[in-house]
């Protein structure tokens, strides 16, 4: 488990003592916006989506969590986002109280969580650039590249890339409609940058070309 990488074996043992496992079925809600923050979680399998909803039903997905990712970093006493399973999810959880106590005993753990939070902050800011300044095709290219990179980091297949989330989820993540997402997929396919053997499987044919489209190359 990624959070534990900074701990010695006996410390990991301590962690496991206070840990609880839990499984989620597809689309099951883990926590809802406004819920009191009682537990923090670490993903062991599956993908989680974090979202914030507007009163009229519009929704923004702020991120997808992959196995090894940690959930509960941002908030103090109330969850500011909803977390739902995409497909089957396996995770372990700790009460905030236990986690607090453990962090006092193992300062390395606290430092590591802080580092995670800062990485999440950098990701959120990159997302702001994506949402505010990229065109739909650029957004999609950027999304595919980022997801592929993260998949690799998490030891999942990076190139025939699997997209467990629906087009609606992708649209709500990129700030678009599903139609525009779909058309952007077709554009990337027609320009030979990707292949779509199935709607939820993407092959990144021309990685460099995708980076150019994503507005991330430096020429």
């Amino acid at each position: 488990m990624a959070v534990c990488a900074a701990l010695a074996d006996d410390e990991v043992a301590e962690l496991e003592k206070i840990m609880t496992s839990r499984n989620l079925v597809p689309d099951e809600m883990l926590v809802s916006e406004g819920d009191p923050l009682r537990r923090v979680y670490s993903l062991t399998a599956g993908v989680l989506r974090l979202s914030i909803a507007l009163p009229d039903g519009r929704r923004q997905i702020t991120g997808f969590l992959l196995p090894g990712d940690y959930f509960g970093l941002a908030d103090d006493d109330v969850h500011s986002a909803t977390a739902e399973a995409i497909g089957a999810v396996q995770l372990c959880s700790f009460t905030t109280r236990d986690m607090q106590a453990l962090m006092e005993r193992f300062p390395k753990l606290k430092d590591r969580l802080h580092a995670f939070t800062r990485m999440a902050l950098r990701q959120a800011r990159d997302n702001q650039v994506m949402l505010g300044r990229l065109t739909p095709v650029e957004k999609l290219a950027s999304f595919l590249l980022t997801l592929s990179m993260r998949a690799a980091e998490h030891k999942l297949s990076a190139n025939p890339l699997s997209l467990p989330m629906s087009r609606t989820d992708i649209a709500d993540y990129l700030g678009l409609t599903i139609e525009t997402v779909s058309r952007s997929f077709t554009k990337l396919r027609n320009t030979g940058l990707i292949q779509l053997p199935e709607p939820h499987i993407v092959e990144l044919v021309d990685n460099r070309g995708l980076q150019a489209v994503a507005g991330m190359d430096f020429h």
Copy 2:
């Protein structure tokens, strides 16, 4: 200084020993994307804009920092954003090395900085909702309300609200063009929600109405 609120008097004295003051003239750049991270900063006067640029010149402003805000929270060894002064700015700085040492001596300080980072993360996520799912008028209403709230928190005038940044800055923050920003200002003025005695001074006439427009009311 906000960072020091958790420290006792003698601890503040320690902080002041390693602190350096600095002034910036309008539009002066404090750090640029990619610069090595050597110092961290705390704003004492003025406003700072944080931005990320795309290779082709497009720019996204990820946030405005007010007096009391802290800069350098997100990054490890390289700055991921550019920081520039809007108007005259006064700030104090510490080397990352000194700050590190101080955090080891005063764990409360470390906790406080961590809390700041988490707040910044929540803000960044709220911004994602704004950028991805709000219409231009909604974006502007939301921006004015948020800025007004933060101004109040930072003991600045919340209601005749001063907007030190240019329309271009606002546009790059909201993910719009300056023309659309300007038109959105006139719409809010014409519907009686705000008054604009000067382009850089806004009066929030109908706070509740603004919240409704910002998509932040819960009816």
